[in-house]
Symmetry: C2
Subunit: 202 residues, 2 copies
């Protein structure tokens, strides 16, 4: 099996960290997003929306979407559980994972795409929306600040995929000048902790 | 247990259909989104981002996010499997579920929010972005058209949560004048089929 990856992009980093946490080694094939290599007919045959990462199994089956790729590896090698173990843990991890993704990760991404026009060859940037997305991302840091005052990790007492998504979002947010500030003491404590895990280098 | 619900909104409808497919009865409590009832301190204590639906268990534990609520019920009553059964099925369902959600459901929602200003008391509408979101949603119908030429359901041969998400998105899209057209024959065939399931009335 192999994973089509782009080393500099925040979404495929989520999968690399997830696999590092599970100590799973996979061959990575680099795809040049800037040159639009992901939008070729052969890549769209692997993933109809032409996004990276893509997991390609040895029988040719392809799975797009970082969470779906992670879910596959969680199913074939559950430990350490990164999507939760009990029914209630699974639900809590998915809740936080989604909220971090929609309210932080995607807002940072929209801020980047719409403010910088980086992908204007393939989408229509709306700078006013980019600005709003950046405001939304910053607001959500306050939600995380409150949450991390009560919990060690985002979804509760255990490290999970929600922490991976938040770490990748916060690291990428520097590109659009969104940074943790003095009022984010609990997020900062959490950030230092998750950043120092060996998987964060993946 | 109970679910905080808004009968007219597309997101909580996803949970109602999911539970109807599993034949699970739950008490629903209606929340008035238009009046901002979901943004009260007591509702934010249940879900920090103040969105509906919310599942409240008898011990007071609350789960927000429609997918997370569905994942909880999938874990406690797996059959019929709506998130896939094998590792590869789970990954394929999650992939399609996410792509339908990001590329169709959310684009329709953003088109509605940014074009109509319906929630302008709690967000800043950017009409130009609303228009782009509508264009994105329509483009994704062509991806589904191609997919449904080859498969009975969106994630493959079995009905799944991805079909529920797409059904709710397409029904809600009428509000922003996005409708299936003559070039969407396979989507139309699928739409007739999933709409006629008893769960679609939920």
């Amino acid at each position: 099996m192999k994973i089509y990856d782009t080393k500099t992009a925040p979404t495929p980093r989520r999968v690399r960290i997830f696999l590092a946490e599970k100590d799973i080694q996979v061959e990575y094939v680099q795809v040049d997003l800037g040159a639009g290599e992901n939008l070729s007919a052969s890549m769209r045959a692997k993933n109809p929306i032409g996004k990276i990462p893509i997991l390609e199994l040895d029988d040719g089956t392809c799975i797009g979407e970082s969470d779906a790729i992670c879910a596959y590896f969680e199913a074939i090698q559950p430990e350490p559980y990164l999507f939760g173990q009990s029914a209630i843990e699974k639900a809590q991890v998915m809740m936080w994972q989604r909220q971090v993704e929609f309210c932080l990760f995607m807002q940072v991404g929209m801020c980047f795409q719409h403010s910088t026009g980086h992908f204007k060859d393939r989408m229509t940037p709306v700078p006013e929306y980019g600005k709003e997305a950046g405001i939304n991302a910053t607001k959500y840091l306050s939600v995380l600040e409150k949450r991390l005052a009560d919990e060690e990790f985002i979804a509760g007492p255990k490290f999970s995929i929600a922490d991976i998504t938040a770490l990748c979002a916060i690291d990428f947010a520097r590109v659009v000048q969104i940074r943790l500030g003095e009022k984010h003491q609990n997020v900062n404590r959490w950030y230092q902790q998750v950043s120092s895990r060996p998987s964060a280098k993946a």
